[in-house]
């Protein structure tokens, strides 16, 4: 078995990982990027729709275009990468020594590294964890799987489609199915509001006359061999189906878009602390986890709704790796915890130093209009016409805002308050 040595190993070759590898290389770190598939790019490769890069490139690009631009940069910088390489396990030897065991078709490669940037993305939630019951026929796909089939391999999963969940991928796939001539019977959302971005509801459903059934759930999947129909019912305020409201929708295909969860299998074995709200790790403002020198970015950190954020996080993690290596650890001693206040479902990072500018990513629990997003301890306040769980709140806290904060204050609270 071959052993290699690097400053940082980036695990996962999607947007966050590519961005992290580019940034780390630019910062002078000896970097290697590990990707399981036979090409770099990750999920955007199968995203033929636009909506990528408005923040980062100030242009509206398709997923493929977006990631191609990043990859051009990666190639120009001659960043090293391994394809068809699967991270089997990570061994923590010392605070600046980790061993990454990689399975490749050439054999097992062991990489000794000071830092790790983990950017493996998220997995899609499946039928069983959301509690849909009934038969278990063929014809059930996750939205991402359906997208891979259609836009990587050019094959059509089915003719008559019901989509469960109105997450962004589900909305995008509703339109993709409609464009290829399938009949999208309905998009079914248990919540009283859509799970995806408003622009996607308009562009993917309304423009194609696809019904969106809010406050409804699939109570049963029916089919002997392939899906034959779904039984749908209205739900009450506790999301329980209301008896007597059931009706059938005949279909041959069910597509699930019921949310993503950070996929951290290898890190979980290493004893990483997980935030139940994000499903991702607990991190400081460099996106470093409780394991020194292990950083997480992109959808493995928190499910983002824009690829631009994943890229931003990848770059930040690379800066963190640089600081870690230069100082033999992140030098901050006095962390201030970021706590969740009123109507905040999740917030990342979980701790800030006040020693530098920091970007805060957050999601609300419930939609609300005319509100302030605020941090009372800092006197920080941001007006918003409306906040929705589907749309990530993004803002920057400047270093100077912390000057008002007493040295003994060890937490700040993010909250949403009506105006």
């Amino acid at each position: 078995m071959k052993t290699l040595e690097y400053d940082t190993v980036v695990i996962g070759g999607g947007p966050a990982g590519i961005a992290a590898a580019i940034k780390a290389t630019e910062l002078g770190l000896k970097t290697i990027l590990i990707e399981n598939r036979d090409l770099l790019g990750g999920i955007p490769l199968q995203c033929v729709h636009t909506g990528f890069g408005l923040h980062y490139f100030k242009e509206d690009l398709t997923g493929t275009q977006f990631v191609t631009r990043l990859l051009d940069k990666l190639e120009k910088l001659r960043v090293e990468y391994l394809l068809k390489a699967h991270v089997h396990s990570i061994e923590y030897l010392d605070y600046d020594k980790k061993l990454v065991n990689v399975v490749t078709p050439q054999g097992v490669v062991r990489i000794l590294t000071k830092t790790i940037i983990y950017t493996t993305g998220a997995r899609e939630r499946h039928l069983y964890e959301i509690g849909v019951v009934g038969d278990r026929p063929d014809g059930i796909y996750t939205a991402g799987e359906a997208q891979t089939l259609m836009d990587i391999y050019g094959i059509m999963p089915g003719r008559e489609v019901v989509i469960i969940g109105s997450g962004d991928v589900g909305l995008i796939m509703a339109r993709r199915f409609a464009l290829e001539g399938a009949k999208v019977k309905a998009v079914i959302e248990i919540l009283p509001y859509p799970g995806g971005l408003m622009r996607n509801v308009m562009q993917c459903l309304r423009d194609y006359n696809i019904p969106l059934l809010l406050g409804h759930t699939v109570v049963k999947v029916v089919g002997k061999k392939r899906v034959e129909k779904v039984i749908v019912a209205k739900v009450d305020e506790n999301f329980k189906p209301i008896e007597g409201t059931e009706f059938e929708i005949p279909c041959d295909t069910v597509v699930l878009s019921v949310g993503l969860r950070p996929y951290l299998k290898v890190l979980e074995k290493l004893g990483i602390h997980i935030d139940p709200a994000t499903g991702g790790p607990v991190v400081n403002e460099y996106l470093e986890t409780n394991i020194p020198g292990v950083f997480v970015a992109g959808n493995a950190l928190v499910v983002n709704d824009l690829v631009d954020y994943a890229v931003e996080q990848g770059e930040l993690a690379a800066e963190g790796a640089k600081v870690f290596i230069e100082n033999k650890g992140i030098p901050t001693k006095n962390w201030k915890l970021v706590e969740k206040g009123r109507n905040i479902r999740l917030v990342v990072p979980h701790a800030v130093s006040g020693e530098r500018d920091v970007i805060i990513y957050a999601r609300v629990a419930n939609p609300e209009r005319n509100v302030y997003v605020q941090i009372p301890e800092l006197g920080f306040r941001l007006f918003s016409y409306g906040v929705r769980p589907a749309e990530m709140i993004w803002f920057k806290l400047r270093k100077d805002m912390f000057s008002k904060l007493g040295a003994d204050v060890n937490k700040i609270t993010l909250e949403v308050k009506p105006r």
Binding site: M1, R123, T142, E145, I155, M156, G181
Partner: protein, 498 residues
């Protein structure tokens, strides 16, 4: 024509497959194992609690055969699992009681254990219970401890038994549904199937849920009816904090039949089943229900000190168990029509007993049909498992990759399954005689798609390997019973024009 008896076994579940393996030991038979599903073991053998029962729940005066063959089967699986490399463990079973009434009931099983010669069964209380099962629920008072209780991978067991039977000359025919047994002049002549007539001198009915139909067509046991009894289950992720160490079972009472909580041989927590008697027409209804799953979850909480959250469920499923009249197995060889054998209505503990049932059936055949059994000299008792990466040291993985680079391509992240394992499974399916390579069949052989993502990451990758290997388009790869896709993305445009 050879002088061998031509045997058709109807049903490649654990019973039919075990009979095939046992009969393959003898020179006397030329055996065809016939299965209506695309793969072996897709009936009750697949969707059950995966327990190798100790045999202390069978009343010997009511069900003598069940009592005898369960205890023997428990012993035989130990040998079979070694010979066939089937994942199996014997952590022992704890039948847990929480109150006096249950304790009284539990004590009756001690008596049964003694009558059935089940070794080591005894009552244990608080302290010992908590040593044996640190994760037991707080309200547990004590338990009946049956040290011989075991766990097996039921679907892999059937696959292994069939692979070995085929190695020893058995012919498997999948997607072959027996429509009826042909009898003439007091003898069986063969079976009519959807693929044509198969001639036979001996027909063995191991058709599980449908074994009533088969025996009726042979003109015997016309009052015998098999009813479906549904059992629903919840399967959880491997990575949950509190998992059962032993086979945990609530004490069956006249009202409930008891629910199990186990850690499967693959490390997942499995709880279930319900026991719902369905009408005889409902033999195809393996649907799950909110009510059933909620019941199982609530009952299992009497066993574990901390239940895994519902968000860690990776799959819910239901199985239909055959329930014969009075719970009595129908195992019999007939001289009229000569050549017909029933191994019908094999309900629990059928899986555990299957190897013993198979030996019992072999003896019945020998006695009833006056066949002097002659052992083959070249019978091979061994079957090797698929070479797997999971839980293998890195140095060994490295060596495997050096020999075959396909071991270095990981297709299933959750279970660390390589392309080489998928390819080996495809080869084995073809060699075994399985007509259609299904993604489900590959899942049960390789565990790819068995993890937290339930195949969202890997299904298309595996389909692609199959597509390349078999030279069929990706959309034509079979998932379970239908194709992965309907055609290329232009399909519907073309259909519309047409």
């Amino acid at each position: 024509m050879s002088d061998k008896y031509r045997v058709v076994i109807v049903g490649a579940g654990v019973v039919g497959s075990s009979i095939a393996r046992v009969l393959s030991m003898y020179e006397n038979f030329d055996i065809t194992l016939v299965e209506k599903e695309p793969d072996v073991g897709w009936g009750a053998s697949k969707a059950n609690t995966s327990i190798v029962h100790p045999g202390h729940e069978e009343e010997p005066d009511v069900h003598p055969l069940r009592a005898k063959l369960c205890v023997k089967g428990n012993e035989m699986w130990r040998t079979w699992a070694k010979e066939l490399e089937i994942p199996v463990t014997f952590p022992g079973e704890l039948m847990v009681f929480t109150n006096d009434e249950e304790e009284k009931k539990a004590r009756e099983y001690i008596k049964l254990a003694r009558l059935n010669n089940v070794p080591g069964v005894r009552i244990i209380y608080q302290e010992e219970l908590r040593v044996l099962e640190p994760n037991i629920a707080r309200e547990a008072k004590g338990a009946v401890y049956a040290p011989t209780g075991g766990l097996i991978s039921p679907f892999e067991a059937v696959i292994a038994v069939v692979e070995n039977a085929v190695e020893n000359g058995v012919k498997l025919m999948t997607e072959t549904e027996v429509l009826g047994v042909k009898v003439s002049e007091g003898r069986v002549k063969g079976v009519e199937t959807n693929r044509g007539f198969i001639e036979a001198d001996i027909v063995i009915n191991a058709a599980g849920l449908y074994s009533d139909k088969i025996t009726h067509s042979a003109g015997v046991e016309l009052n015998f009816q098999v009813k479906p009894r549904k059992g629903e289950y919840l399967l959880f992720d491997e990575d949950i904090p509190v998992k059962p160490t032993r086979v945990l079972h609530t004490t069956p009472t006249p009202i409930t039949k008891g629910v199990y909580a186990i850690t499967t041989v693959h490390g997942n927590v499995l709880i279930g089943p319900t026991a719902e008697d369905l009408p005889i027409e409902a033999k195809g209804d393996a649907s799950t229900s909110v009510k059933g799953l909620d019941y199982v979850y609530q009952e299992a909480s009497k066993l574990l000190r901390e239940m895994p959250p519902r968000s860690r469920v990776i799959r819910t499923f239901a199985g239909l168990r055959p329930e014969p009249p009075g719970g009595h197995w129908l195992i019999k060889a007939y001289s009229d029509p000569w050549g017909f054998v029933n191994a019908a209505g094999i309900r629990s503990p059928g899986f555990t007993s299957a190897p013993a049932i198979a030996e019992y059936v072999a003896n019945l055949i020998s006695e009833t049909f006056d066949i002097k059994l002659v052992k083959k000299t070249n019978w091979n008792p061994y079957r090797r498992d698929i070479t797997r990466l999971n839980n293998r040291p890195l140095s060994e993985i490295d060596e495997l990759i050096k020999k075959n680079p396909a071991y270095g391509e990981i297709v299933c992240y959750c279970k660390t399954v390589s392309k080489a394992e998928i390819l080996e499974a495809v080869d084995r399916m073809i060699k075994t005689g399985i007509k259609t390579i299904t993604l489900d069949g590959l899942k049960f052989r390789t565990y790819a798609g068995f993890g937290m993502c339930q195949g969202a990451f890997c299904r298309w990758r595996i389909a692609k390997i199959v597509s390349e290997k078999l030279g069929v388009p990706l959309y034509d790869v079979t998932v379970k019973r239908t194709k992965y896709g309907i055609g290329d993305v232009k399909t519907l445009w073309v259909e519309r024009k047409g």
